[in-house]
Structure formats: C-alpha cells, structure tokens
C-alpha cells in the first residue's frame, strides 16, 4: 500500500498494473482499543484520521455495520460551501472549506475537489437584501462572497429561465470557492489515510450495544463480539438516535429521508452549482455529464432510505421551471438517504453526560461539506475531552440553555430546517 504519485502511476502502468495493493487492510477486531468510532461514513473516517494525525492516537477502530461509505457519504449530492450567516456556522464551515482546499495533498488521494462556485438565486428585493446581509457577514468573517445582479447571473448560467412569472431571477449570491467533491473518494481517501496511520477499519460489524458502568463507557457490543474502549465516539448520521439510545440517551433529533436524482449524461451544460432556495431545487453537473439534482426532504420521519413520489414530481417540476432544456433529459437514477434532522438545524459535536462517550450528529442535509472540519473538531473533542473553539457552538446542552444555532429561524421543527 504505497504512496500514490506520478511515479507510482508510471511504475504500475509499465508493469501491467498487476502490482496495485488494496487501499486498506481488513483486520480482525482487537479486544481493546483506546478509542472506538461508531460509523464508517465520512465523519467517522475523518475523525479517525485526525485522531491519528493531529493527536497521535492511533490505537483506534472504526466500526461500520455495512461497507465503508454505504451511508450518506456515498448518497449525497457532493456540494461544499461555507455561505452561512450564524457565526458558529460561518467559522466552522470556513475551516472545513480550507481543509477541503488542501485535502488531496494531505491524504494523498484524488477526491476531485472542484471549486466551481455555488450560486444561490434570489427572486425578490427582500431576498436580495437578505443575501446582501449574508454576503456581508461572510466577508466580515473572511469568507468570499459576491452579490450578482440579474445580468451577471444570466451570463454565468445561460440555460436559466430568467422570467418565471412567480420567481423571476433578480440576482444571486455567489461563493466562488464553493463547489463539489467526489463523495465516494472522500470516504475511500480518508479510509486509506487512516489505515496507513494504523487505524483498524472494521466493516460489516454492527454496534448492538454500548457498555456503560458507573457512568463511564467501557466499550461496545458488536456482531463480532465485545470491543473494549476508554473512549467511544458516535458518528452514525441518520441512526444517531438509535445508537445513542443504546447508552440511554435521548436526543433532539428526528430521522428524515432526503432524495437525490441523476440524469443521463450530456455535454457540459452547467459549470457551477445552482440553488433555487425559494423553490427547493438545486443542480450541478458531474464530470461524467449527468445532472445531479435534488430538492426538499420528504417531511415525515423515516428510516427507509427511499422517498415518495410527490417529492419526485415536485423536484422535476421545479427543474423544468428553472432549466426548460431539462425537459429533454431522461433521469437515470434516484435514491434516498436518512439524515438526522436536529431541532435547530445545526449539528452536535460534543461530549455526553456519560464519561468517555462522545457524540457527532444532527447533520441534517448539509453534513458532507462538513466532513473534514467535523472529523477535525470531533477528534479534538475526543482527544482533549473538551470542544474546540470551532465546535463550541455545537454543544448538546444548547437546547436546554437556549443558545440555539437556528440558521433558518424555523424554530424547533426539524422538517422545516
């Protein structure tokens, strides 16, 4: 499992590509680790990587019930950005974007980080004012933001229907440093990088219990036996409530389904990410040519990893309103992922009332972009026992103290965030 480089590429090409080795090991579980991370999605894998890299903690296992990347890290629509208004979010997501910018060199893996820009459309004077305010807040925090007028939007995205009767396009807020990242490669890259630093990746190993004695975590029961650990970190995305319940915790989270869609491949059509927030639709184009798009969550609690037809129809209708040319496309695939919607729409990265048990969850529909910073902050929290300044706003007790981070101002109504 060597270092990937132009040299290794040439060497393997010249020897018939017969000597590539697997990107990570398939170890047997040890009886005890310093730290066990539950969940081998983007966040669990990046946490393990940063525990090893930033804190020198390498006696770590990532326990995953399926295969690596079988959850939301392989189901999302790959958008990264840091265009938030609330200070806790702005600084955290900007840290994440900076980590994305250096990620491929850091983990020695091509994750196809593409800073093609993220453009949020606006349709009224009020919405433009809100975007101006958000853009200013971003720039004050050192984040890039540009307010585009109608003609700049038209020039940037030629296929847009500018004159929809209900939602005429008046302009947009553009973050040029936003974009897309190949999601599977993020899981694989972090997995390989963590494995190279000694982390054991235990696939097809489901956590079925959390052993707590005298208010302290002792380890996890799994389908492959008990694994002892002084520290256990949960990064189980849509299943956070279920896994936390194994330790007796009840959380401010509901699980919901979000769908996504891919069209047949076509020639380059959209070279950025366009979001139509007023109507719940967003789209980008993958390097294979397929349009990757999605909309709103279905709105009801679900663990089913599939959604219903009303949202499919709604998303298609909005697609055609925004990009009339899409009427000529066939859509190829559609799927759903289960996300933990928190009560204020923001995540939780914190310790818990149980000693040694740490929680990372509540990512809603926006946790992919957070993958590097989430792992980085969670690793810090686990290693030191205290949240980092960057995740100090994402504490579990904020729902009791009233320090909510409600970016949308929607209140304690998860299906509106």
């Amino acid at each position: 499992m060597g270092h990937y480089s132009l040299f290794s590429l040439l060497k393997n090409a010249l020897t018939g590509n017969r000597h590539w080795t697997p990107a990570w090991r398939f170890p047997e579980p040890k009886a005890r680790y310093d730290t066990v991370i539950v969940g081998g999605g983007g966040h669990g894998l990046s946490t393990a990587y940063y525990l090893a890299k930033e804190h020198g903690i390498t006696n770590v296992a990532v326990v995953e019930k399926g295969y690596l990347g079988s959850g939301n890290v392989g189901r999302n629509t790959t958008i990264i950005r840091s265009n938030y208004l609330m200070p806790a979010n702005t600084h955290f997501y900007e840290h994440s974007l900076k980590l994305w910018e250096g990620l491929e060199q850091d983990i020695n893996y091509n994750a196809m980080v593409s800073q093609r820009g993220v453009l949020n459309l606006c349709h009224s004077d009020g919405q433009r004012d809100a975007y101006a305010r958000r853009g200013n807040a971003m720039r004050l925090a050192g984040v890039d933001a540009e307010l585009l007028d109608r003609e700049q939007v038209r020039a940037m995205v030629p296929g847009l229907n500018m004159d929809n009767a209900r939602f005429p396009i008046k302009g947009g807020l553009l973050q040029r440093r936003g974009g897309t990242v190949r999601h599977d490669a993020v899981a694989w890259g972090y997995a390989r990088a963590a494995d190279r630093r000694g982390v054991d990746l235990l696939q097809n190993t489901e956590v079925i219990g959390i052993r707590v004695e005298g208010g302290r975590v002792r380890g996890v029961e799994t389908t492959r036996g008990f694994i002892a650990a002084n520290r256990v970190g949960l990064a189980c995305a849509g299943n956070t409530s279920r896994v936390a319940a194994m330790a007796g915790l009840r959380l401010p989270i509901e699980s919901h389904v979000l769908q996504a869609f891919v069209s047949e491949g076509v020639k380059p059509m959209i070279d950025t990410v366009v979001t139509f927030g007023a109507g719940h639709f967003y789209v980008s184009q993958s390097d294979k040519g397929g349009l990757v798009f999605g909309g709103d969550i279905d709105g009801y609690n679900s663990y089913a990893q599939r959604g219903g037809m009303p949202i499919v129809r709604h998303v298609m209708e909005e697609a055609l309103q925004l990009f009339p040319a899409m009427s000529r496309l066939r859509y190829l695939r559609q799927w759903g992922g289960i996300m933990d919607m928190s009560m204020d729409g923001s995540p939780i990265i914190d310790r818990t009332p149980i000693d040694g048990l740490f929680l990372n969850g509540g990512w809603c529909y926006g946790g992919f972009k957070a993958t590097p910073a989430s792992g980085w902050c969670f690793a810090h929290t686990i290693a030191t026992g205290e949240p980092h300044r960057l995740n100090a706003g994402f504490r579990l007790d904020r729902f009791g103290t009233g320090r909510l981070v409600d970016e949308k101002g929607a209140g304690a109504q998860p299906n509106l965030h």
Binding site: R242, E254, G299, P414
Partner: protein
C-alpha cells in the same frame, strides 16, 4: 403513501402536511424548565410504529393522528386528533 382520513377516505400524502410526533404533551405553564426542553426539543425518533400529527390541509383541514411505520412507511391507521 395513502393516508386513510376518517372524514375523506384514503387520500395521497401530498394533500397533507406533517408536523411530527403526536405524543409529546404540552407541560403546564409553571412546569420545570426540563419538562419544557423535553417537550420542545427531545424526541423518541421511533424506529418502527410512530404516532404523528398530519393535517389534511388540501382536504377537510382536520388534524389527524396517523400511526405509520418509519422503517417501511406502511400506514397502520388514522384517527381524529381530538383529546
């Protein structure tokens, strides 16, 4: 997904809006803060049958308690949300 509205019969879920768990009960105004935090923010997030409030907003405009399995989306029944 079809919701068996007791007033209108089986109707498509897109005629409804859903607000979430039906069982949390509003505490008395002078209840301790923990009871309020629990009511406003904490959820069982059931894996299986779930009692939840649906509003037949594009139909009879009545509030219903629907019992639905969150693993399969199978709807087990609906009744008027009257206490």
């Amino acid at each position: 997904m079809l919701i068996p509205c007791p007033y209108c019969g089986e109707r498509g879920a897109d005629e409804f809006t859903v607000i979430g768990a039906a069982d949390p009960m509003r505490p008395e105004p002078d209840a301790p803060m923990e009871a309020w935090v629990e009511y406003v923010h904490v959820r069982d997030n059931a894996f299986g049958p779930h009692r939840e409030l649906w509003h037949h907003v594009h139909g009879c405009r009545q509030w219903l308690v629907v019992t639905r399995d969150t693993r399969t989306h199978a709807v087990h029944g609906a009744e008027a949300a009257r206490r």
